[in-house]
């Protein structure tokens, strides 16, 4: 759905703020809450100005307790509200995992559709901006291993706004992970109006025939840099931005890999057991005959995200490491 009115250049935080504003305006059942989201407008200012606009009943600070935030939201949702909870950083979600694993994705299933949780949990995730310890985690694989929960990770302001509005309108619980590195680092044209983008669809953001780069969130920008470098050498890389990790659009991934015959999977979480392992497995299961080289993963090392900012950049995949992997699949 493309807006009738014009567009403006916004960064990701502004686009997310605009989506939250429109959601609050669109449906009076919508609530926005979390730690410091009220007067302060959130640590990244994603809810800036919204409490003043919609009042303390609809946009409010909660006690500092993540299990409480998620549990409270589950209750609000089951009783007919449309809660949007902010977890200040994805790495702060862990106290709430019992609520997530035991209830959030299970309620519709166990009650056979009687009680549902149309709730969005937003959280900044990922590294690249020298945050303190615990602030740079990428726990998407944990969330993708929870049945009944959708997981969305946008990579640009225009996509972030439309996907967030879709997530808020969705009848099921959705995790919306926002790449910290891109909050202010990327600006783009964003339509002014309310618009939604389909969940469960991957998109090809750059077409090419040499190899497929399969990525999402903060890694899309990294893959684009790598693809620009490769293009100068006459190598055209295709980039697939997954956007929705659950439910995963396997079809678009397979289509790209069947075309290029080479797959590089890029994610910034720890390699082992990461979501890239699932992508690799699906390619191996359904497109092995098309592959001309083994699938290669480029990911965070099998270590915690380092709290040591001097070496942080060696953890998070960059264009150089992506290109090393591309060379590997091209020269196999």
């Amino acid at each position: 759905m493309i807006a009738e009115r014009g567009t403006r250049v916004l960064n990701n935080v502004q686009a997310i703020n605009e989506a939250l504003d429109l959601a609050l305006e669109h449906d009076p059942r919508t609530l926005l809450f979390g730690e410091d989201v009220g007067v302060m407008g959130g640590v990244f200012r994603a809810s800036d100005g919204l409490q003043a606009k919609y009042g303390e009943k609809r946009v409010f600070d909660t006690p500092l307790a993540e299990a409480g935030i998620v549990g409270f939201g589950i209750g609000l949702a089951m009783a007919g509200m449309r809660p949007i909870a902010e977890i200040q950083f994805a790495g702060f979600l862990y106290p709430a995992l019992d609520q997530v694993l035991s209830h959030l994705g299970r309620m519709r299933h166990r009650t056979r559709g009687r009680h549902t949780i149309p709730m969005v949990i937003r959280a900044p995730y990922g590294g690249g901006v020298k945050t303190p310890e615990q602030h740079a985690d990428s726990p998407e694989a944990v969330l993708c291993h929870v049945p009944g929960v959708k997981v969305i990770i946008p990579s640009s302001p225009e996509r972030a706004k439309g996907l967030l509005l879709s997530a808020i309108a969705d009848p099921d619980p959705v995790f919306f992970l926002e790449p910290i590195k891109l909050y202010r680092g990327v600006k783009a044209e964003v339509p002014e109006d309310y618009y939604t983008l389909p969940l469960g669809k991957a998109r090809v953001v750059r077409e090419g025939d040499a190899a497929s780069l399969l990525c999402y969130g903060g890694m899309v920008e990294v893959c684009q840099k790598a693809a620009e470098v490769a293009a100068r050498e006459g190598v055209e890389l295709e980039i697939v931005d997954l956007e929705t990790l659950t439910p995963l659009d396997t079809g678009t991934i397979l289509e790209s890999v069947r075309k290029t015959g080479r797959a590089v999977v890029v994610y910034e979480a720890m390699r082992t057991g990461g979501f890239g392992a699932e992508i690799s497995a699906r390619i191996a299961e359904e497109a092995l005959d098309f592959l001309q080289a083994p699938i290669v993963r480029v990911a965070g090392w099998d270590a915690p995200y380092p709290p040591f900012s001097a070496v942080e950049n060696f953890y998070r995949p960059d264009a150089k490491r992506v290109l090393e992997a591309v060379r590997k699949v091209l020269t196999h």
Partner: protein, 349 residues
């Protein structure tokens, strides 16, 4: 002064049911309350038989705790909410859950897990204390929607050790949520006695940490629980916030139909508590007031058995669950992965 005396225990009936003073309930309410207790007791006894016959799954008995649950449910309106742990079958029965659904529920049949649309109850929770912050959210939603409905959440003494109990109480308190937090202190968390669970032996005192009232009721005295819950519900409806209600009772039965309490406790204690049985106590009250006799008792037993048999028949009539229902209701609309699994389970791929 013992610290257990810091908070008064509400009690209206002596152990034998004799009223200790004026009762805050009408004769009709007393009769209604007794019938509700007997109805719950009858289900519990018949459920255990079904379980022993292999016609029910693992079943958490509530024998001895009927007054603690029924009293709260009687204090609620139809538009209020119940958020139970796994032991609240008695509360569910009183709140309006059809017996056939409860039989199916404890048979682990999906037809029982879908609560009827006109019953504001969430299906029994197995994880401990996670229901408390959720109940705070349900309660808060009532206020946001401009209603004066309340929610009652149930938990046991052991559950108060969990972090979610604390977070739930704190949220309910901060938002003045219309919530009754009902702690059935039944003395045991499976095999661990309350004295090993916490230093504070009056759980209601914990309410002070949240700036809300903490009330203790004799959990085997239906009049006391009903009265205390009614007061807490009225307070919540007025917008004055949550109340922590501790009911002092005892888990006379094993933890579940799979448990063997002889491994960890002297059953003499259960025998002592059986003398304070909430059902016999209420019958004693009615008899004392001249409201009940043997004929009425026999007629009630017959009526309850007829009702139970009809429910059992209805439960038997429920369709067999199909394997592919496993991947239904994961999402409102199946994703491609569920569609693949669904087709396989239906033998279509």
């Amino acid at each position: 002064m013992r610290y257990t005396d810091l908070v008064e225990t509400i009690q209206f009936l002596a152990d034998d049911g004799r009223p200790l003073g004026d009762l805050p309930l009408s004769s009709d309410e007393l009769l209604h309350g007794y019938r509700a207790l007997r109805r719950a007791r009858h289900f519990d006894e018949r459920a255990l038989v079904l379980q022993r016959q292999g016609r029910l799954g693992v079943y958490p008995l509530f024998r001895g705790q009927e007054a603690s649950q029924v009293g709260v449910a009687l204090a609620l309106r139809k538009d209020d909410w119940i958020v139970p742990s796994y032991r609240e079958t008695a509360a569910a029965i009183t709140f309006g859950m059809p017996l056939s659904r409860l039989i199916l529920s404890w048979r682990a049949d999906p037809a029982g897990w879908r609560i009827p649309e006109d019953v504001n109850m969430i299906q029994f929770y197995i994880p401990i204390a996670t229901q408390v912050p959720q109940a705070a959210g349900i309660a808060h939603a009532q206020r946001l929607q401009g209603r004066d409905a309340v929610a009652a959440v149930f938990i046991g003494d052991g559950g108060t050790s969990e972090g979610d109990f604390h977070e739930g109480l704190n949220f309910a308190s901060v938002f003045d949520a219309p919530l009754l937090i009902v702690v059935q202190n039944n003395g045991w968390a499976i095999s661990v006695p309350t004295r090993k669970q916490m230093k504070v032996q009056r759980i209601a005192l914990k309410a002070q940490g949240y700036g809300i009232p903490g009330v203790v009721a004799d959990g085997n005295d239906l009049v006391a629980v009903w009265h205390a819950a009614r007061q807490a519900a009225e307070r919540a409806r007025r917008g004055d916030g949550p109340t922590l209600l501790e009911t002092l009772t005892y888990r006379i039965a094993p933890h579940t139909s799979s448990d063997d309490p002889s491994r960890y406790r002297d059953e003499g204690e259960a025998g002592e508590w059986a003398k304070k049985d909430p059902v016999l106590r209420m019958r004693g009250c009615l008899t004392h007031l001249g409201l009940w006799d043997a004929d009425k008792e026999n007629a009630l037993t017959e009526e309850l058995e007829t009702e139970f048999l009809a429910a059992l028949e209805e439960a038997h009539a429920a369709p067999e669950p199909k394997p592919w229902e496993i991947v239904e209701q994961v999402f409102a609309e199946m994703g491609p992965d569920q569609q693949r699994d669904w087709a396989y389970l239906r033998g279509e791929s």
